[in-house]
Symmetry: C2
Subunit: 194 residues, 2 copies
């Protein structure tokens, strides 16, 4: 069966599994080839080298996320809940991003930075419009939300690895995260600050 596209697809899938499990340095090209049931050479023909393959895999998955994922500045608890659900369903992506950050490959961050800046701008607008509180800067809010929404991923040293009791309590976690985000981004008018 000759099918270049299908082979590429299988390689990308296997590479995702391998890289998310072992990182760039720990990943083995032979293992990827074996898992994809293709010859190692195909990997070098289709994807230059190991690093290029990693970049392709990461970029592919991130693009998918940015296309599918709506940011809703007026409903930040809901956004946090969706990030939480998505990441719980795709722990591999979170691992990939963490490996990437640790191995400090500075290239290819433009896409993410742009998306980040766009969100910050939207948050600022939402603050001006009074939809969300102004106690925290947009940048602080965004990072806080992302960090809370992904705190119970297996990549977090302070997450489930240290607190195994949390696994399985998905619904309680999502609910608590939403409340926490609400506390940070909540309308300041309705409470008595100062």
């Amino acid at each position: 069966m000759r099918n270049a596209e299908a082979t590429k697809e299988k390689i990308l899938e296997a590479a995702m599994a391998e890289f998310s499990a072992y990182g760039i340095a720990g990943a083995r090209v032979d293992r990827i080839a074996k898992m994809a049931k293709c010859n190692k050479n195909m990997i070098y023909i289709y994807f230059e080298n190991k690093e290029q393959l990693f970049s392709t895999v990461l970029e592919m998955h991130l693009t998918r996320v940015y296309e599918e994922f709506a940011f809703t500045p007026e409903d930040l608890p809901g956004y946090a809940a969706r990030v939480f659900d998505f990441m719980m369903a795709n722990p591999d992506l979170m691992r990939l991003m963490t490996w990437f950050t640790l191995e400090q490959k500075t290239e290819q961050l433009d896409q993410r930075k742009e998306a980040h800046n766009r969100k910050i701008a939207e948050l600022a607008k939402a603050q001006e419009a009074g939809h969300i509180g102004t106690d925290f800067s947009p940048a602080f809010l965004l990072t806080s939300i992302m960090v809370l929404a992904t705190a119970w991923m297996p990549t977090n040293p302070f997450g489930p690895s240290i607190d195994p009791a949390s696994s399985g309590k998905t619904d309680e976690l999502r609910e608590a995260i939403m409340r926490a985000v609400g506390r940070l981004a909540g309308e300041p008018a309705s409470t008595e600050n100062r």
Copy 2:
């Protein structure tokens, strides 16, 4: 100059730098030996093998943290601030912990789990005593605090790597983190929930 203790010390120091930079898989024993200005064989004499060396380095640093670091359940914003300051001053340790979590070496977590459970128990007591709010479970609170306090470390994919503007604003960050933790752990009596 012959000095076993000094040599061990130099190896541990070099290993810390190497492992935090490259992780276990990416670290090179030759590089550690060169950095420590000792012969590679000394590493194998003093520390069995590469993994053992990693474990020793991590354990050493964590023990130091657990001994020096007071947990203050009645002043959680202050605790968060101290975690923040400590981690900002020791980014290598955060990297080491993240590598460790990603490479899922399950051994040797007992020390950390114990410390974690002790903190959770203290938080529960503080809640009973009415020192802190009861809207979030102790486990949720603790993970949230740690995650917020370490969100602007270079290891976080949603931190400074994506938001370079945050670097340098240490004081603003610390202050915002303290306020955020206050929001999550604040006394519920003074606000009108429900």
